[in-house]
Amino acid sequence: MTFGPLDARLIVHRDNGFVLDITLDIEPGTTVALLGPNGAGKSTTVDALGGLLPISDGRIALDGAVLDDPSQDVFAPPEAREIGIVFQDYLLFEHLSVRDNVSFGPVAAGNSNANAIAETWMQTLDIAAFANRSPTDLSGGQAQRVALARALASEPKLLLLDEPLAALDVETRTGLRRTLASHLGHFEGPRLLITHDPTDAFLLADEIAILEDGKVTQRGTPDELRRAPATSYAAALAGLNLLSGTTRGGVLELDDFAQSLSAADTQLDGAVLITIRPNAIALHAQQPHGSPRNTWSTTIRSVEPLGDITRVVLDLPLPLSVDVTPGAVSALSLAPGADVWASVKATEINLSPTGS
């Protein structure tokens, strides 16, 4: 099966005055994250792509087929769009077994190989063992795989992941994010991840489009976004500190820096990706009390105002981004070259296992 790109210009005028106006081009085999806060237009985008909401202007084309184009009076209904959607709460059919959920798409399409297709996807996503179970008897991780298998079995041309991790608690989310990352490659078409969580976007996507107030304010690879954020929201998101290292019994050794940290998660063992939000790091004029491992002395490399917050970048031993209030800047006399103490709570250090 070959895939074509998503080629979409979405302009939607909502009754409440909200206007969505974005361009979304996604090449096959690429995951683009549409990252934005609540109210930025994420649900409107999902509804417009899924065919629940006709666009006011623009054009949606997928693999060369026009799905919605007001100027040509074309509108394909949801069932004709070939967009596989993984919903936030999965929306598995509880009156059907796992197998019948997965074969739902091919059966609806009248495919005589429906069962074989379902079987293949259940094997691929490692859910064949509970094919006869009801979705109500599944863990969050199993349900997510069933939802993914169900969407992929319908042989879509676009995979749309609508906040696939938002309904989960923090610990489950970390594990499931890894599973999701490893399974996304099973789909070779264009992939769109809708999320409000920068960690999802930075870890799962090849490219990130930042959605603010109905517009894409910046699009680029995670690296590009981190290096040159275009708006203060992007900067706040891009400040997410991403490190790699290994953990054992809660002690983190970093790959690139000499500083070690202690994390609250003492169960994990092995290679991990470490994320620390920039507002989770505190700066002090004097050495603070607390765990000596997560407290260190450093100098300031740069200070940059970003509207309501000020982004401070620390120098070695650990070049992290820190967000502080403008008040703290003057109280602590923060300026490039100044000496400060930095600290971060063990519970604010988020670990996700890499490696197999």
């Binding site: 949801p78 069932e79 004709a80 596989g84 959607i85 059919f93 739902f104 609806a108 319908s154």
Partner: protein, 264 residues
């Protein structure tokens, strides 16, 4: 042995008294019925031609009415809950009208529309279809009064289901009819069964519309409630016996189904 300690709190007296009066209102007529039951003649009374004919007619007509109500009512309930069209609230009001209308009025209205001289009945008559004073007429009168119960129950269920499951099914490529059949119907199954049972029970007890539109002909249109009414004049013992039969049938079915399906 340790058990969970139970503390009983006394409910407010006013509510208890009023609730008891309500229960009495149901129980008293039943006791009256039982007190007048000619137990020794019961077998003989219930196997008379009059009763057996009426029992058979009631059985056939109430089941047929429940079936037809389901076939017609579920699609209408779906349209009312899923399709926006002008005049929807008017249709909704008309649909529920038979619930508040005296059944006699319904029967008379049916007669004016479908009687041999009626609006549509005249043309039907011309092609040899005669509804009034026939079994088909009984079933039609039953459907007229039973259909609203099914529609109301099913529409309520359809409106309270999460339409996102239907959207999920559509995203998997299912047509609206497939979504209806494979997702919507299974999701409202308990309410659908409740609606069918309610419609059946309403049809079983139907009197006014039937007697007006279909008459009271033994063996042709005389159902159990009509037989009771007739017997009250001629043979009170028979009337009591048939009433008891109706109570027993209804109670058995309602109790049996309630525990299995009426959890909502």
């Amino acid at each position: 042995m340790s058990e969970t300690r139970r503390v009983r709190r006394r409910p407010p007296t006013v509510l208890l008294v009023l609730a008891a009066v309500a229960v009495l209102l149901f129980v008293l007529p039943l006791v009256g019925l039982l007190s007048r039951t000619p137990w020794s003649r019961l077998g003989e009374l219930l196997t008379s031609d009059l009763v057996l004919d009426a029992l058979w007619l009631s059985f056939i007509s109430s089941l047929a009415a429940a079936f037809i109500s389901t076939i017609l009512g579920v699609p209408l309930a779906w349209v009312l809950s899923r399709v926006e069209f002008p005049g929807r609230s008017i249709v909704r009001a008309i649909v529920t009208l038979p619930m508040v209308l005296p059944p006699v009025v319904g029967g008379a209205a049916l007669l004016f529309a479908l009687g041999r001289r009626g609006l549509v009945g005249e043309s039907l008559d011309a092609v040899g279809i005669v509804l009034p004073f026939s079994l088909a007429g009984v079933i039609l009168a039953n459907v007229f009064v039973a259909l609203p119960f099914l529609i109301i129950t099913v529409e309520g269920a359809l409106r309270s289901t999460d339409v996102r499951f239907e959207q999920a099914a559509a995203s998997l490529g299912a047509s609206r009819l497939t979504v209806f059949r494979r997702v919507t119907l299974p999701m409202i199954r308990p309410s659908l069964i409740a609606g069918v049972v309610l419609a059946w029970a309403r049809a079983l007890g139907e009197f006014g519309a039937t007697v007006t539109f279909a008459g009271n002909l033994q063996g042709r249109t005389q159902t159990l409630p009509l037989a009771v009414f007739l017997s009250l004049e001629s043979d009170r013992d028979a009337a009591v016996a048939i009433s008891l039969l109706l109570v027993a049938i209804s109670l058995i079915v309602l109790v049996a189904l309630r525990d299995r399906w009426w959890r909502s």
